[in-house]
Amino acid sequence: MKNKLIIAALITLSPIGVAMAAPNNVGCGVGTIIFEGQTGVAPQVLAVTTNGTLGNQTFGITSGTLGCAEDGVVANPVKVSMFLDTNLDKLAYDMAVGQGETLESLANLIGVDSAHKAAFFAATKANFAEIISSEQANTQDVIAGLNRVLAQNGELAQYARLV
């Protein structure tokens, strides 16, 4: 019974489940629209209190299974989408340039083999328009676009289902 509950919970947390359950699961990888909100560098403002701004991505260490995390560690099914939620605009930049810390980290999260990394970077650069398909693209759109691009690439097709 307990296992079934866990499976049910994981399905709800997985991108598919989330896409169906949207839109109030912000923080697990569905909420962010690229270039929107506080994505860029902020100006010097008097007494900004950002403590807690990103509170939905801060977890208690032994809080059990809670939203997107298990005892404070991001649950596997939402690892990629949560990462994208926080880093969409930086990722878009890295893809356009063809390299960078955010793109490297995404490759690591997906499990791209070091032998395939150059191809992965080249593919995301060449297909930028497809992956970031509009200025309204959100995390799910970017994941879908990335999957399409990977699936069409012989060498990288193996990673398509991992995103």
Binding site: I34, F35, T39, V41, F59, E70, D71
Partner: protein, 637 residues
């Protein structure tokens, strides 16, 4: 004692069968005797694990956790031995099925269990080890192979991080310097809710906020500090053995749900992180060096100074720092192209004059600047989003990566190599016809003329700065000044960045009432202004400021004034700083009078611990002319 534990066990686990209790009671007693013989309760490791600290006045210790569930014995907060006995007893609890809310004591207090097991070598037949599946899954997910102390530098515009902050990053075995974003940050913090800066400080002075340790992906912290607050981050990779790392993680697990009331000055983020390192390596003596107040950068220093502990320091420039660097690398024509791109001239047209190999950096700078302007609210979101994608699309069509890497120069010295934050000053001078000697002490933190390096330029924070003075011809010492808080943010504007400079200070000061009579008043002064220039050359500034003096000897007991001030700040040589300023205040309300003053302050730093400061000033206050000169020696420690 034993009977108490037995009773406690019986209350906790009433269903436990009597013979089992008898058998385990015997082994428990054996373990307690062993622990007693080895004086484990008095050991450094037990002290560190339970967060015991010596009492200030009375003999004995008190545990710092403010959570009754953290201490298993009723008097465990003050009695390390009773706590040890109760902990051993709890380990004998019957197996349970782990749930989100329930763990076996061996798992819930897994660092204690491991250490006691190391020392006492538990007989697994008589004290069966529990599987601790949740902890195992957690540890496997973290996959820790290194620890990094992260120091987002001070952020003057947010009172809760005025002095900087520290957190701990857990680096996983399958990460490298290019994928550090994927590590996890262990962070001790409070949730102040909607409380604003001033209220936050007041409440945190008395420990009104419960603080807890939490975990978040490091990329969330980088976004918060580097992108949103524009704080340069320093990452200090530390040399800890795998065993020490495991110990620290086990203890972090124990601390998970444990509340430690947050105190702004002493039991803050930096202090609690140090206590984690003491658990990892009990021979480290870190927290005991700090009495009364703990400034994050001082804790970084105290750790970095330990032999062999600092592997390397990595600088992660803030979003703004990188943007400045990008813009600085463009020539005039390229900057013009950036402007045209942001005016939505098509990339092809805007980049026409730019040589092919320079088009990428121009597009990259334009994108970074656009994101900044969007964040600053200078553009409509929809328009900025469309243009952002446009620019990146154009960039994606240019070959090549960032083969002109934007790596701003690493500031030297690093924060841990800057001057210590406590300052003692001895000075001698002449004030309106009298010689004087004075002694000053400032517990924290940094002013504009203190030795450069390691601190944000233009960010002054003085806390509890007190000066006593002895004047020639007067017998006793007098309190010259007591500044409770003095914050001064001098931020030069340029073509792209338009910050407002501001200052606020409050405390006891002196005003000239009659000839040769300076009386104490309670003064609050603040203002806003603009600054231009660069710290390497000169910063010119102008302010409008207001002052409220309150004191029994003033007419109507107060004086409220307003007026301009202006000055120039020069940095002619690395060790030499100079501030020339003029100030005029007209007190129209209460004790009506005028005040004007010109002053020249200069400092010469001998090294990061010693500096000389020479101040000359003159002016007029209530029709009384005055001139003062003062030479001070500053010792930072």
């Amino acid at each position: 004692m034993l009977r108490l534990v037995g009773l406690w066990l019986a209350l906790l686990f009433p269903a436990w069968s009597a013979p089992a209790v008898a058998a385990s009671d015997a082994y428990l007693q054996e373990l307690m005797t062993q622990a007693d013989a080895g004086n484990l309760a008095g050991s450094r490791q037990w002290r560190a694990l339970l967060h015991y600290r010596d009492n200030m006045i009375f003999p004995g210790v008190t545990g710092q956790a403010d959570d009754p569930r953290f201490y298993l014995a009723a008097d465990g907060k003050t009695d390390p031995r009773a706590e040890l006995d109760a902990t051993l007893a709890a380990f004998f609890a019957p197996p349970i099925v782990e749930t989100d809310t329930a763990q076996h004591p061996q798992c819930r207090f897994i660092a204690r269990y491991h250490w006691l097991n190391e020392v006492l070598r538990f007989d697994t037949a008589r004290l069966p080890p529990q599987p601790c599946q949740r902890f195992s899954a957690w540890r496997a997910a973290l996959n820790a192979s290194a620890l990094t102390l992260v120091f987002p530098s001070a952020y003057i515009n947010n009172p809760s991080s005025m002095f900087g902050h520290t957190l701990l990053r857990v680096d996983a075995a399958d990460q490298d310097e290019r994928t550090r974003l994927l590590g996890y940050a262990i962070n001790y913090a409070v949730e102040p809710g909607d409380d604003n800066g001033a209220l936050f400080i007041l409440k945190s002075l008395v420990g009104a906020y419960p603080g807890t340790f939490s975990l978040s992906p490091y990329y969330v912290k980088v976004k918060e500090y580097s992108d949103m607050e524009n704080r340069d981050i320093w990452e200090y990779r530390l040399n800890f053995t795998q065993q020490e790392i495991d110990r620290l993680l086990m203890h972090a697990w124990e601390l998970g749900p444990t509340r430690f009331d947050y105190y702004f000055f002493d039991e803050n983020c930096a202090y609690h992180l140090l206590s984690l390192f003491e658990v990892a390596r009990p021979s480290l003596e870190l927290t005991s060096r700090f009495r009364g107040w703990v400034i994050p950068v001082d804790t970084v220093r105290s750790l970095a100074e330990q032999a062999g502990i600092l592997a390397e320091a990595v600088y992660r420039p803030a979003g703004n720092t990188r943007l400045r660097e990008r813009l600085a690398r463009l020539d005039a024509a390229e900057r013009q192209a950036v402007d045209r791109l942001l005016e939505e001239v098509t990339p092809d047209a805007a980049l026409q004059e730019v040589p092919a190999e320079r088009q990428a950096p121009v597009l990259e700078a334009a994108y970074a600047l656009l994101r900044y302007e969007d964040g600053a609210g200078r553009r409509g979101h929809a328009e900025a989003a469309r243009l952002s994608r446009h620019l990146l699309l154009a960039r994606s069509r240019l070959a090549g990566g960032e083969d002109h890497p934007v790596t701003p120069a690493v500031p030297a010295p690093r924060p841990d190599q800057g001057h210590p934050t406590r300052r003692l000053a001895l000075s001698a001078g002449h004030d309106a016809g009298r010689d004087f000697q004075s002694l000053a002490f400032r517990p924290a933190y940094n002013d504009l003329l203190d030795p450069s390096g390691g601190y944000s330029e233009g960010a002054q924070i003085n806390f509890m700065d007190v000066t006593v003075r002895h004047e020639q011809g007067r017998g006793r010492l007098t309190l010259e000044k007591l500044t409770l808080v003095d914050i001064y943010s001098l931020a030069p504007r340029d073509g792209f960045f338009k910050p407002v400079s501001w200052k606020i200070n409050t405390g006891i000061a002196r005003t000239r009432l009659k000839d040769d009579e300076r009386v104490a008043v309670y003064r609050t002064n603040g203002g806003a202004g603009l600054a231009l220039g660069s710290w390497e050359r000169a910063v010119v500034y102008g302010f409008v400021e207001a002052t409220l003096d309150v004191g029994g000897e003033l007419e109507d007991n107060y004086a409220l004034g307003i007026g301009p001030s202006a000055g120039v700040f020069l940095h002619p040589a690395p060790a030499w700083k100079l501030n020339l300023s003029a100030r005029w205040q007209a007190y129209h309300l209460g004790d009506r009078h005028h005040e004007r003053e010109i002053s020249l302050e200069q400092s010469v730093s001998l090294n990061r611990r010693h500096a000389l400061r020479f101040t000359l000033s003159g002016g007029r206050e209530r029709n009384l002319e005055f001139t003062t000169a003062n030479l001070a020696w500053h010792w930072y420690f």
